[in-house]
């Protein structure tokens, strides 16, 4: 009987045996309805404290202007774009897991997609802080960035990669939130029905929109989910492609390269999967979610990290190769300057974090033991930040004219803003864990035999 169930339900092997609708619902909704573990308060407190650093930094920035940052001529972008690209890239794994793996019918995505999508939404929010505040007067950002009829009869320039970026990122943020929210509706209904306090029940009831699990609703719901996944798939690939156009469409040595779009997309997925693992490994241990996030899940995520990491490393090798093969003195100097110039330690740290350390993931033992894997992921998180630093700073600080060369040093406000966004992210993520089911309950239910009508082979 059990064998039959396992055969007929392809996703069952991604769930520890012995679970039914009731146990799944109790376990996952219990994280919210039960008492928060002590570590939750500690984590939230740390995140919330760091968030204050962001608020102070941004207030001071608005008060004084962007001069408090280390950006200068020639390095006009600095931390703002480095951190923007880093955060946006992290978001990509969430969409990859929720959309692309859904289209490919990878059922192991089920237990990680909710948390990964939350990560996407929060990471995009953190990313948005940088360009908006880099404008110096964020209350005017809407007028500079979005096309609307204004009294000066001016329009943004649609031939500019920066306006492409505005369209790509704002569409990405909107669609990610819509997709995440649509996915939450049935689980919000579960929380509504399990809430004890009338206020909480009403709140969940309001956001669940009166969901009642009707078969007719499920039919349209599943159609809409698949269509949203289908739309998100090209969207997520386009976002980092467009981000890379910010660089590739310019004529700066080290930026003007056709390899940028695929190399950036792979880097984004790589950084994102490392961040998903960074978040899920502790979360799984704290909440005892080993039945849902099994060794198989961790192993698969580590494999994706390894593969995309190899693509990224190939990108680094190609950059060096192009520097030589182009026979262009500026391109050649750019790569030599990266390796031997004033920022060489950053470059070699990047190669170590993104090129050398991930090779450990070839070992099955590393992929399935959480502590070494967590360490590798932290190296990747740092490495991907270094990558953006190296791309942005080393290309800008020494371009064509030696007379206009310069150095870039981040100030204490650069660092406090960057670290502050981590506080924003942690705060949002800890609140998410506390108020929304961090694993999609209804999708896990669908992995059990009870959700499948027997003798229904023509639909499977």
């Amino acid at each position: 009987m059990l064998d039959h169930a396992k055969e007929s339900v392809p996703g069952a092997r991604f769930l520890a045996p012995g679970h039914n609708f009731g146990s799944i619902t109790d376990k996952i909704s219990g994280i919210i309805t039960g008492r928060a573990p002590f570590s939750w308060f500690i984590g939230f407190l740390i995140g919330f404290s760091i968030l204050q650093l962001l608020l102070v930094s941004l207030t001071y920035l608005v008060f004084k202007g962007t001069g408090i940052w280390g950006v200068n001529n020639p390095v006009g972008w600095g931390f703002a774009i480095i951190n923007f690209v880093w955060w946006i890239g992290i978001g990509h794994a969430g969409t990859l897991i929720s959309a692309i793996l859904l289209l490919f019918r990878q059922q192991w995505r089920t237990s990680i997609n909710r948390a990964a999508e939350a990560m996407t939404v929060f990471a995009v929010g953190c990313a948005a802080v940088f360009p908006i505040f880099h404008t110096g007067r964020p209350w005017l950002a809407a007028y500079w960035l979005f096309p609307y009829p204004n009294t000066m009869a001016l329009w943004p320039n649609f031939r500019s990669p920066l306006i492409w970026d505005v369209f790509a990122v704002s569409t990405y943020a909107t669609v990610s939130i819509v997709f995440w929210y649509i996915g939450l509706i049935p689980d919000l209904a579960t929380m509504r029905d399990r809430a004890k306090s009338p206020v909480v029940r009403r709140l969940y009831g309001l956001f669940s929109l009166g969901w009642r699990g009707s078969a007719v609703h499920w039919q349209r719901y599943e159609t809409a989910s698949l269509l949203l996944a289908g739309l998100s798939t090209p969207l997520v690939l386009s976002v980092h492609t467009v981000v890379s156009f910010d660089f590739a469409v310019s004529v700066i040595p080290g930026w003007h390269a056709t390899i940028f779009p695929p190399y950036f997309v792979a880097g984004a997925v790589y950084a994102g999967f490392a961040m998903v693992l960074t978040l899920l490994i502790p979360m799984r241990a704290i909440y005892g979610l080993h039945d849902f996030i099994t060794e198989r899940h961790i192993n698969n995520m580590a494999k994706v990290t390894l593969v995309t990491g190899l693509i990224v490393f190939y990108g680094y090798c190609m950059e060096a190769f192009f520097g030589w093969y182009s026979a262009n003195e500026f391109e050649a100097y750019m790569i030599l300057n990266r390796m031997q110039g004033p920022y060489a330690p950053y470059y070699w740290a990047l190669i170590f974090c993104n090129g050398v350390v991930p090779q450990l993931l070839w070992s099955h033992k590393v992929r399935t033991s959480v502590l070494p894997l967590f360490a590798v992921c932290m190296a990747v998180n740092v490495g991907m930040w270094l990558e953006r630093f190296v791309i942005v700073v080393t290309s800008l600080h020494r371009d064509y004219l030696p007379g206009s060369w310069g150095m870039y040093y981040p100030t204490v406000w650069d660092w406090s803003t960057f670290i502050g966004t981590m506080g924003l992210f942690l705060t949002l993520f800890y609140l998410f864990i506390r108020v929304l089911p961090l694993i999609s309950i209804f999708e896990i239910r669908a992995l059990t035999p009870a959700a499948h009508a027997k003798g229904d082979t023509h639909h499977g």
Partner: protein, 183 residues
């Protein structure tokens, strides 16, 4: 006028089943018996259940396509109109309609409108948000419909609905329980 004499209006009859197999079998039987105002309720999507009751709605797809089309025309129209007509800038004699550069905003607005219309049409066609629905008047439904319960409801508006005969039909399907749903 006749309704006034009745103590409480009846929305329908609801039967509870143990799993998707029993529920789908029951839904198929009820549909074959000629009932059309029927609905099933499950805590997770069950493939083939809506189809077993004769529901096959493909309007969401059409809204997605319409949204994509509107987004595409609107996005390109915006770029073309602002760059070539309303605010033309002659940059070294290059064409004003520099369409390859407009592809990216056009692509993004296509996706945006398609996604918004997909999600929006799914909710509107499902009649959501809905603040009140009679099925929640059943205690067992309120307690378990979003966690463990599988329910089938035959509405009293169905022309074939007859309290005694419909109840007998449902009882023949061996449900866990049958309850009357107050409107």
């Amino acid at each position: 006028m006749a309704e006034i004499d009745q103590p409480a209006a009846l929305y329908g009859l609801m039967a509870e089943f143990t799993d998707a197999t029993d529920l789908t079998r029951a839904a198929t039987t009820v549909y074959a018996d000629g009932y059309r105002q029927i609905d099933a309720f499950t805590p997770a999507p069950v493939h083939g259940l809506a189809e077993a009751m004769g529901y096959d709605d493909r309007r969401v797809q059409k809204f997605t396509f319409t949204g994509g089309l509107l987004g595409m025309i609107g996005g390109f129209g915006l770029c073309y109109w602002t760059m070539a007509i309303d605010y033309p800038l002659n940059i070294g004699g290059r064409p004003l309609n520099s369409w390859p550069a407009f592809i990216i905003p056009t692509f993004e607005t296509t996706i945006l409108l398609a996604a918004l219309l997909t999600a929006g049409s799914m909710l509107v066609l499902n009649g959501l948000p809905q603040l009140y629905h009679p099925v929640f008047n059943v205690g067992a439904f309120r307690a378990t419909a979003s966690s463990t319960g599988f329910f089938l409801c035959i509405e009293s508006t169905d022309p074939k609905f007859d309290l005694a005969r419909t109840r007998a039909l449902l009882e023949g399907l061996h449900p866990k329980a049958i309850s009357e749903v107050d409107a």
